[in-house]
């Protein structure tokens, strides 16, 4: 029953006990010193009762600057250090390491940000100088109340999970596996390869996509360190960096890949035909099929939605012994739940193209000869439905006039406001390849402006323009439809400022690149963020481009933003190396400035659970408990807890009050 009075607010002034604080004020060249009178700050802060040492220096983060701090700790027996310089997000680690090296606990060092929060945003020297002094005083109040902390440590599972078996997932999985660690590669389709497997030739070098992809696919198939799970999806992720527990649902293939010898007898007897996904609906496949000859795993698969034999009384023709000699087909194959413990996760779920039905003004859903660029890739592919010579779907004639529509929904407020990044280059590629195959063709490209950034891409686009004679029309297309076998395009030529109408045999839409379906669901299971358009949100666009905000989860490829193969592969290797950084360690160490719950005060209301963005809180015996490895110290729960039961280490209410008091006191 003994409790503090309702207003226990601090009167900590003048109670610094044995504290001996050193303050180091940085000029940051002219960055700070031009606006803040650094000497004056040192003079003022030297009068502070807790301060026994204060000095300034040009660049505190430089080697000589760091040595000043070490020397003062040793000579003056400092108990705490305040470095008044830039943002702690830049140099906190630097200075904490310095302090630790000199024998102090690193958490006895704090930074006062007198650059971003002071010199850069003010002009009046006097006032800026006073503010800098106040900021330092406030940080002194924090430091003197900082506990000495040790990092939190746990063991880890030296295994990786890669979700998505496109080029991004393949590359990342191979990198990790080659470094000697186990990888679980989960792909929801019957084969790995992703979109790259569907492409004809790839810009900027025009090498055949399958020729460079399939060797990597078979490397995955044969790698002793890779466990490949196709037709599989992650259904559940629990835990935290180093210790994720994942549940994966592996759907039945109904064909045993170890027995299937690819004889193709089964497709001959199968009576069901459905559009082929691999050919983007431009050809037909059977209910039992192989997506493409080099598929990995190298095996046929039954599409349970199309197959009649799921009830063997109705069909089951393919399973007859005289059809499938090795007896590979099993209609009773069941889904399986696989559980795995992994230390890191790489999300490489790639992209999809925007549903053409949503852009009805462009008619791709109504007229046969208005197609998507992915369909065009299939028409250009030697193993595609037309053997590599593009023919119109309506009458199988080779088109003589063709138009490519850039930004067909991208950079469009009504559809996707962002630039899909790769379309300008692949449209040029399409024009170039088509012109090679049909030299007398007329090729039009409707564009808003050409965005072909990347090594050698500009040359590539020039080549398309000059060599292939593609007519680039700068204009936004307003409507496309097909009538009497002709595709009509209405647009405004924004260079000549006039309306134009072009009649072609076929139009190809460069639709927006959008994230793979189900990404939002997957992201929320993993507690990672997605951006406004559903792409994975990286922790920091510049400094942490392949990391999610949740430690141990990384991204690669088009799942993070639309990108070409070059960038995808680079990012995949980057993600793999980040993953390896963790896997090569023997324990995971985590900052100890995390939340903790006072069980006596917690009322078990569970509000903190719903606000913690990292899922760090569980209810144990009716009271909240924070997992210190997962907690990122954001403080959301602290401000939410109605009972005041949660506090953040080294960010206690008492500290914040004293800091506020020091900053605004006497104003």
């Amino acid at each position: 029953m003994e409790n503090p009075a309702p207003r226990p607010y601090s009167d900590a002034k003048g109670r610094y006990g044995k504290e001996r604080i050193g303050v180091f004020v940085c000029h940051c060249g002219r960055n700070i010193a031009a606006t803040v009178d650094v000497k004056k700050v040192v003079e003022e802060i030297s009068k502070h009762p807790a301060v026994v040492h204060a000095e300034d220096y040009d660049y505190m983060c430089s080697k000589p600057g760091q040595e000043l701090i070490e020397r003062a700790i040793e000579e003056k027996g400092l108990t705490g250090v305040v470095v008044a310089a830039c943002s702690p997000s830049i140099h906190e680690t630097t200075f904490r390491e310095v302090v630790e090296h000199a024998g102090l606990n690193p958490y006895r060092c704090e930074m006062a940000n007198i650059r971003e929060q002071c010199s850069w945003v003010h002009e009046e020297r006097d006032k800026a100088t006073e503010k800098a002094t106040r900021l330092i005083k406030s940080v002194i109040e924090k430091v003197v109340r900082n506990e000495e902390l040790e990092p939190v440590k746990v063991g880890l599972h030296k295994k990786a999970l890669v979700i998505g078996g496109g080029i991004a997932g393949i590359r990342a999985a191979l990198d990790i596996a080659n470094a000697g660690f186990q990888v679980i590669l989960v792909e929801r389709k019957p084969t790995i390869g992703g979109h790259m497997a569907q492409l004809a030739e790839t810009f900027p070098t025009l090498d055949c996509a399958q020729c460079i992809l399939t060797p990597l696919m078979s490397e995955v198939a044969n790698h002793p360190n890779i466990k490949l799970l196709t037709l599989s999806e992650v259904i559940d992720v629990e835990g935290y960096v180093g210790n994720f527990h994942v549940r994966i649902k592996k759907n039945p293939r109904y064909v045993d890949p170890d027995k299937c010898n690819l004889c193709d007898n089964c497709t001959e007897v199968c009576p069901v035909v459905v559009p082929s996904e691999f050919d983007e609906g431009l050809s037909l496949r059977k209910a039992i099929y192989i997506p493409f000859p080099q598929a990995v795993p190298s095996s046929y698969v039954i599409d349970p939605d199309a197959c009649l034999g799921m009830n063997p009384i109705i069909c089951g023709k393919c399973a007859e012994p005289d059809v499938c000699g090795p007896g590979a087909i099993n209609f009773y194959d069941q889904p399986e739940i696989i559980e795995e413990d992994v230390g890191v996760i790489i999300v490489a779920t790639g992209y999809e193209i925007y549903d053409p039905k949503k852009i009805s003004e462009y008619g791709a859903d109504k007229y046969p000869d208005i197609i998507t660029s992915l369909q065009f890739e299939r028409l250009l592919s030697p193993n595609g439905p037309t053997g590599g010579i593009p023919k119109r779907p309506s009458d199988e004639k080779i088109p003589k006039r063709i138009a490519f529509i850039h930004c067909a929904g991208s950079r469009d407020e009504k559809h996707r406001p962002y630039c899909s990044h790769i379309c300008c280059t692949y449209c040029s590629k399409h024009g170039l390849l088509f012109k090679e195959l049909v030299p007398d063709a007329e090729v039009y490209s409707f564009y808003i402006d050409i965005r072909a950034v990347g090594k050698n891409y500009e040359d590539f686009v020039k080549r398309a323009q000059e060599e292939a004679g593609i007519q680039f029309i700068r204009g936004k297309v307003s409507k496309i439809y097909e009538e009497d076998g002709k595709v009509k395009i209405f647009a405004v030529d924004t260079l000549l400022n006039r309306r134009i109408e072009v009649e072609v045999d076929m139009a190809v839409l460069a639709l927006p690149i959008v994230p793979a379906q189900g990404i939002a669901d997957l992201a929320s299971k993993m507690r990672i963020q997605i951006d406004n358009y559903g792409f994975l949100q990286e922790r920091h666009p510049k400094l942490h481009p392949v990391e999610s905000a949740t430690p141990g989860i990384f991204f690669a490829g088009a799942a993070q933003s639309p990108k070409d193969i070059q960038d995808t592969v680079a990012q995949a290797s980057a993600a793999a190396s980040k993953a390896l950084e963790i896997l090569t360690q023997d324990e995971i160490s985590h900052t100890p400035t995390v939340a903790s719950v006072d069980r006596d005060l917690c009322s078990g209301c569970r509000l903190c659970l719903s606000v913690c963005p990292y899922g760090a809180i569980r209810i144990v015996d009716g009271k909240a408990e924070v997992n210190e490895i997962i907690c990122e110290g954001c403080g959301a729960c602290v401000s939410t807890c109605p009972s005041g039961a949660i506090s953040l280490r080294n960010f206690t209410d008492e500290q914040l009050d004293a800091m506020i008091e020091a900053v605004v006191g006497g104003i």
């Binding site: 009075a5 207003r7 226990p8 006596d600 569970r606 807890c641 109605p642």
Partner: protein, 328 residues
Amino acid sequence: MRKIKLAVDYGSICGGCDVAFIDAGEKLIELANAAEIVFWPAVVDGKEEDLRKTREIDIGIFFGAIRTERHKEALEQLREKSRILVAFGTCACYGGIPGLANSVESRVLLKKGYVATKSTDNPDGKLPGFEEFKEAALRLPRLRSLVSPICDFVDVDIWVPGCPPPVESVNKLIDVVKDLQEDQVPPKGLFIAEGRSLCDFCEREKPEVLRIKRFRRVHEGEIKRDECFLKQGIICLGPVTRGGCGARCIDANMPCRGCFGPVPNVEDQGTRFLSAVASALMAEEEREVGEEELRKLIDELPDPLGLFYMYSLAASIINRRYLDLEGD
């Protein structure tokens, strides 16, 4: 055994705290045996003189908030003479319901009460407290600009929150008086209440995740007896309120309004609750719902100030309309 000298004085009261003592029934005999009542207007006959003349008392109990200058003088006098000072009742502890007056200036309050209402006949617009009534040799105490809890002016030794405090609390306070006879002095800052929130004592079933989809008022539809009020969208201050009340309202199927004041680690009951409710509102669905829809939901909450600060506005961080604590 030595008799304990006891005095009770009042600030702005409704009389409920006196009645709370009466509710203690036979236990009052124990009090009468243990204490000599120096001053307690509602209980024993006596004049303020008696209190003024007494030099020292053992335990002074103050009811009510500080509303007028006279309240402040009474409080200061009681503090000066008492070894132990008790803040009895929510008004003394946190300002209580009178504290809601701090949402307007007292001048406005007086105008409303003495001039503006339709039934008032006051053509000269005279306001009380601004002149002396010489004829009656009467001086009306001036209204202070703010209502304050007593801890704004004096040190408090024992806190007895509750509007009014329940019999159990009164009994415990009587035991404290009895202990004083044996020179057992209670620890400073003793709360005759629990250190945990009301939710800890509430038997209703709590949801897995608290997510408020719509605010509901108590008269809107049936209230389930066995389910957390907040889950039903009914504002219940349980999570931010000290337990110790015996969950009387909860048992009567009425949500907690917060009369026991904030839980120990919380300074400001209302903002704390606001922040908690904001977190629970459409929790995890905020994005899909969007700003505008959220705003609409929030607008469904009538009188948030009165609801979240029903008893603690005077003791909160935003405890006043204007900063000037002294004059008018």
